[in-house]
């Protein structure tokens, strides 16, 4: 099957000098959840807005379902669903009116009542938009993005403003969207979200994609070292650095860290037992996407 989205050498310059997106290329395959991960201002939203046809690229080509989203917007109506950052509905518009309106854009009859229930908005059916909480607005926008049963769904920072419980619910629902056959493009700055949901992740920094792979693949490629951590009061730990796979040993107070690869935990455990040490807090810390991100960009996502 051809890719759902093809982006080649995308470039977007605001004004004359502000380069928001610089030579970005990637493809999104049918049925996958593709993540654009990056800090605020990295160029994620601009990239997605170019794909949605909301902005005209300065250079490069974008194809969604084989169409140019700027020049053939009409062909894509109802086939793309978008949940946008920083958008609103008229204050006095009611929840059901919004769903009814957006449903009328889609060909065929749309069952938006089910969406209301799925997204926990059934009780808010007759509430006006201005009376909704941040989380309710977010859920309404997601429901609106799904109302036409689109083939591609864009979710931009969709769990921002949701409480932890609502985030879990949203994650389950995103997986359901994909299970129904839609392709999902997820823009996020939450590492745990990307790691949990995305089949593939592109790390965006300063307008460029600096790495793209499965979350696991990124970790293996860029930060393969795992850490074995335990407490112990021995002064000399040099013998630990001779454990197979170990790359280094550090300690801070009673907390000791052995960094390395391979079945490190087993080797360290065996070595400790040999020396008569049986720390009860021995554990392994696997590298996370966050470590990879830090390594790749040199800064934390919230900086």
């Amino acid at each position: 099957m051809p890719p759902v989205i093809t982006v080649e050498h995308l470039r977007k310059v605001y004004g004359h000098h502000v380069v928001a997106v610089d030579d970005v290329s990637f493809e999104v395959e049918p049925g996958e959840i593709f993540g654009l991960l990056g800090s605020n201002g990295a160029g994620k939203t601009t990239t997605v807005e170019c794909i949605q046809g909301l902005r005209t690229p300065t250079g490069g080509t974008v194809r969604v379902l084989g169409k140019d989203p700027v020049h053939h917007a009409g062909d894509l109506r109802g086939r793309m669903g978008c949940q946008l950052q920083e958008s609103r509905l008229p204050d006095h518009m009611k929840v059901w009116e919004a769903l009814d309106l957006f449903a009328s854009l889609a060909p065929g009859v749309v069952d938006w009542q089910t969406l209301l229930e799925q997204w926990g908005l059934a009780e808010k059916r007759n509430a006006s938009f201005s009376s909704l909480s941040g989380g309710q607005r977010q859920r309404l926008f997601i429901a609106l993005a799904l109302v036409s049963s689109p083939e591609v769904v864009f979710l931009d920072e969709m769990t921002t403003g949701l409480d932890p419980a609502a985030r879990r619910v949203a994650w389950d629902l995103i997986e359901k969207i994909r299970d129904r056959g839609a392709t999902v493009v997820l823009v996020t700055h939450f590492m745990d979200e990307a790691e949990r949901l995305c089949d593939r992740v592109a790390v965006v920094d300063k307008g460029r994609i600096i790495a793209a792979d499965t979350p696991r693949g990124l970790v293996v490629r860029y930060d393969p070292l795992e850490q074995v951590v335990f407490s112990c009061d021995l002064d000399d730990l040099d013998w630990l650095s001779r454990v197979p796979g170990a790359r280094g040993v550090t300690r801070r107070g009673p907390r000791c860290v052995v960094e390395g690869t391979g079945p490190l935990l087993a080797h360290v455990a065996a070595a400790l037992v040999d020396r008569g040490q049986t720390p009860d807090d021995l554990r392994v810390i696997e590298p996370s996407l966050e470590d990879v991100f830090l390594k790749l960009t040199g800064h934390l996502v919230d900086d």
């Binding site: 949605q52 909301l54 917007a73 009409g74 062909d75 894509l76 109506r77 109802g78 086939r79 793309m80 669903g81 978008c82 946008l84 920083e86 958008s87 609103r88 509905l89 008229p90 006095h92 518009m93 009116e97 009814d100 309106l101 957006f102 009328s104 854009l105 889609a106 060909p107 065929g108 009859v109 749309v110 069952d111 089910t114 006006s128 926008f141 609106l144 036409s148 049963s149 129904r180 056959g181």
Partner: protein
């Protein structure tokens, strides 16, 4: 569910341009009308205020021609003078108060972004505003005319056809002005301020409230630059005498063309 339907009607989906554009326009217009009814400010200015002013004017001047009235209302009874004038005021109120506030709000607040991302056509957004404005104008005008007819012996319009044509032209001119304001004003508050100022200046200096005959030279010169002056002339001609004031009509058509063109050029998606 809908997804399965999409699979079987796949070819229809990829067919020519979306057939539901008109459906969206009508749905948006209907929603706009409901939103209007939930907005106290515009209800007051479009429906209540003109009727209240008509009441005051009617109580002060009555509708008997002759006497002191003869010099001022072009020889007409005061209410025969004011009824068509206030129909013009209603179209002005919808145009300069409701439309700019709504359009600036949509533009600056992210509503247009939201609509556009779902590929709601821009002509449907602007069109629904204008259609809603027209419907509200009709309701407001009927209220004004019914009030005048019920409580004062106002005569029936001499030419209903010309009155209707004049009404549509007035509505179009003020809708064009309102859309232009909505395109250039930076925020809903700014739009509301500008709209209210225009509303009161036009209300008092265009012959809609203070008759031309008692205005000073300066007031009249200002009035010559106000669109409402021409709206009032056009509708009064149709109401009493059944005549079509071509000067007024041409001025209003000019406003529709120029303001309409400019606003479509300037109005941007959020």
């Amino acid at each position: 569910m809908a997804r399965d339907g999409a699979a079987t009607t796949g070819t229809a989906r990829h067919g020519v341009s979306h057939p539901g554009g008109l459906r969206v326009l009508l749905k948006l217009t209907w929603i706009e009308l409901k939103l209007f009814l939930r907005e106290p400010m515009t209800i007051v200015f479009t429906f209540a205020f003109p009727v209240v002013l008509m009441f005051v004017l009617g109580e002060v001047f009555g509708n008997q021609p002759g006497g002191s009235n003869e010099r001022v209302f072009g020889g007409l009874g005061a209410m025969n003078y004011y009824a068509p004038a206030y129909i013009a005021v209603v179209t002005m109120s919808v145009g300069v108060i409701m439309l700019p506030a709504r359009l600036t709000d949509y533009r600056s607040g992210g509503v247009l972004r939201r609509f556009r991302a779902s590929l709601v056509p821009i002509w449907a957004v602007l069109g629904s505003q204008v259609l809603a404005a027209l419907v509200l104008g009709v309701v407001g005008s009927v209220l004004v005319a019914a009030f005048a007819a019920l409580f004062y012996p106002v005569h029936f319009p001499d030419s209903l056809a010309l009155l209707a044509a004049g009404f549509v032209l007035c509505s179009a001119a003020f809708a064009a002005i309102g859309t232009l304001l909505g395109a250039v004003m930076p925020s809903p508050r700014a739009a509301q301020g500008a709209g209210l100022m225009l509303f009161f200046v036009m209300l008092f200096l265009s012959g809609a409230s203070v008759p031309m005959e008692v205005m000073s030279g300066t007031m009249k010169r200002i009035g010559d630059f106000l669109p409402l002056t021409y709206g009032v002339d056009l509708l009064q001609g149709a109401w009493s005498g059944g005549t079509w004031d071509w000067t007024a009509a041409i001025v209003l058509i000019g406003i529709v063309v120029i303001a309409g063109f400019l606003s479509l050029r300037v109005y941007r998606w959020g």
